[in-house]
């Protein structure tokens, strides 16, 4: 789709004043967002605190081979979850929001958008909420357990023992993330910044989900994080869209609300008892537009099926007395939103709808916190 020589030329030519010509010269700009595309907000960001920490983690002992032969056998930490946070100046009374990313991605999903606009992490902080952005266990700065790969390399395990590492191709992303039916041809009303699709591609990392123990340690880590925060709104996206439900089942008291953004699948196997627990927590599901687009991948023929599955689950929870809502912006005339709705050009408009729902259904936090 993009010819290699030109792409290489573009990379070499990324110097002030030259980059733009390069972008215009290629079908999908290989350097649509250099640093210079990043926008500076009009007003200062005043933080009470920012930083990062880990939640959870296990010690495991590994052989010299499993450690890559850098030294003798010993212990390492695995299954920990990296979390970056920002707390606004006057946010102590507002409920924290935890934002979890989707498949083949990291917490970067919620930061500066591919075309350089403010991410939801900062936007929610500016609206007064402490924000916590993890990398799922096994992804990005959370690391993963490399032992099996080194064992396979050394002939101590069968090649089939190491799990597949997933990536979405740029071509699959167009229909699957609903930017357009075909690569390079955005929907006429598409809200995704089409010129920045190549920058989105750079957010891709290998997805080692199949390497993780069952249940996925991220569920427990999210529960522990919400507990340590003395209550939080848990927001998941795509692959992690249903993670907040799993976390809430482990400790519903710490889950002040669940926001399921374009979940890949809402479970249809919860028992009546589990539904009763979920009915104690306000739940919002948010979906974009063009959900009938054929995705071209086998695990999800269309996102409309995900929508209908979540509608059914939230219906069950509502019938059990729960406070649930399906938010479909297209119903309000807001058209063209993609799967990467937090990066869409109208991402602040969508964020405002979620913030209004949080204000109305969650209220202030009880008792201050850092």
């Amino acid at each position: 789709m993009t010819d290699r020589p030109r792409s290489t030329w573009c990379r070499d030519a990324i110097l002030p004043g030259i980059a733009l010509a390069c972008v215009l010269g290629t079908a999908i700009g290989a350097e649509a967002q250099a640093l210079k595309e990043v926008q500076t907000p009009d007003t200062l960001l005043v933080l009470k605190a920012q930083g990062s920490f880990f939640v959870g983690g296990d010690k495991t002992d590994q052989t010299d081979v499993e450690l890559g032969n850098l030294g003798p056998a010993g212990h390492i930490a695995v299954n920990q979850m990296y979390v970056r946070f920002m707390v606004p100046q006057d946010g102590a009374d507002n409920v924290p929001v935890v934002m979890v990313h989707g498949a083949t991605l990291t917490g970067k999903s919620w930061e500066t958008t591919p075309d350089g606009r403010m991410g939801w992490d900062e936007y929610f902080v500016r609206k007064g909420h402490p924000v916590y952005v993890p990398d799922q266990v096994g992804r990005g700065r959370s690391g993963f357990n490399q032992a099996v790969f080194n064992n396979v390399r050394a002939g101590k395990a069968a090649a089939a023992d190491q799990p597949a590492l997933f990536r979405f191709s740029d071509e699959v992303v167009w229909p699957n993330f609903r930017f357009g039916l075909k690569p390079g041809v955005p929907f006429l009303d598409s809200q995704f910044p089409a010129s920045a699709v190549d920058e989105l591609a750079k957010q891709g990392v290998p997805d080692v989900s199949r390497l993780l123990p069952t249940p996925n340690p991220t569920f427990k880590a999210l529960t522990d994080l919400a507990t340590q925060l003395r209550g939080a709104v848990l927001m998941g996206h795509s692959q992690s869209g249903a993670f907040p439900l799993e976390a809430a089942l482990l400790n519903p008291a710490a889950s002040r609300a669940l926001v399921l953004v374009e979940p890949g699948r809402c479970p249809d196997t919860y028992t009546a008892e589990q539904i009763k627990v979920l009915a104690t927590v306000p739940i919002l599901a948010v979906f974009g537009d063009h959900r009938d687009t054929p995705t071209g991948i086998s695990i999800r023929p269309s996102w409309q099926l995900s929508f209908e599955g979540c509608q059914a689950l939230l219906g069950r929870i509502k019938a059990a007395g729960g406070d649930t809502r399906m938010l479909n912006p297209a119903d309000q005339g807001i058209r063209g939103n993609s799967h990467m709705i937090m990066q869409d050009k109208n991402n602040q408009q969508i964020a405002d709808l979620i913030l209004q729902w949080i204000d109305a259904h969650v209220g202030k936090r009880s008792g201050g916190n850092k």
Copy 2:
């Protein structure tokens, strides 16, 4: 070294008020830093901007197998470098500082310390410098090219074709990072927060350096970043300690200064012409204490050898007219600093020495920037 049942118990008991007893009850606390250990600064942090973006990156076409069979063959982005940044309120006139992490680690190295104190990223921002923290190409949020692993899994490549993925064991870290001669026994004057070694362990991620093309794409990405910033101080640590030298050779004009923090190795192969180029950029090398400690790993018998190699290189550069300095805090009576000097208990004291050197040798930036 740490018994597994107790470690698990600690993980399960991480609730307010219970965690501390848990930490005290285990030789190396499995939960030394939960969120509650993270300290809130006394004064607000006022930012002109913060966010993240990518530098560089190549498009590569991959088969369905190489993509993990999530969809058909297509293109993905590889070799990009993730960068997170913070720009202080009044930092436009101060030179930006780029902080690159070491082996088996990510940009997290420079963030909140394992025991919850402010990292150098925020400290340098509070001292007026815009700060840019990358994940090296192939690490953390920069992702890596997973193709060969999926080919090996599918029997389309030999197991030996996939590179070893490195990790340091907790036991190796004690002598190698110079916390103490033996695991669990810190030097009497150690500046590293010994109770938080298990939290440092959580910063470990698989190191895929052997997967990368030659030269390491991080060199070019650092140069491009410095160029886009219209000049920056490039700071490397350990594995990346010498990266600033490589970046400066690609574009010395964009490298306002180089700070080599505990570099694993200073190259001894530079030509006279390369030395002449490096002599145009101020260079500071910083080393901690206890450098004679036997590390127990083959690639580096002791850090004193690294110190002497850098002393020799900086001597050559100085002889060519360069502005170089070996900073050995122990010479000033500041004892006990470790390899993870940016996380040591006196990390702000060390940072101040570096900031003073930057002030004296680099000066203000020429022309404003974001």
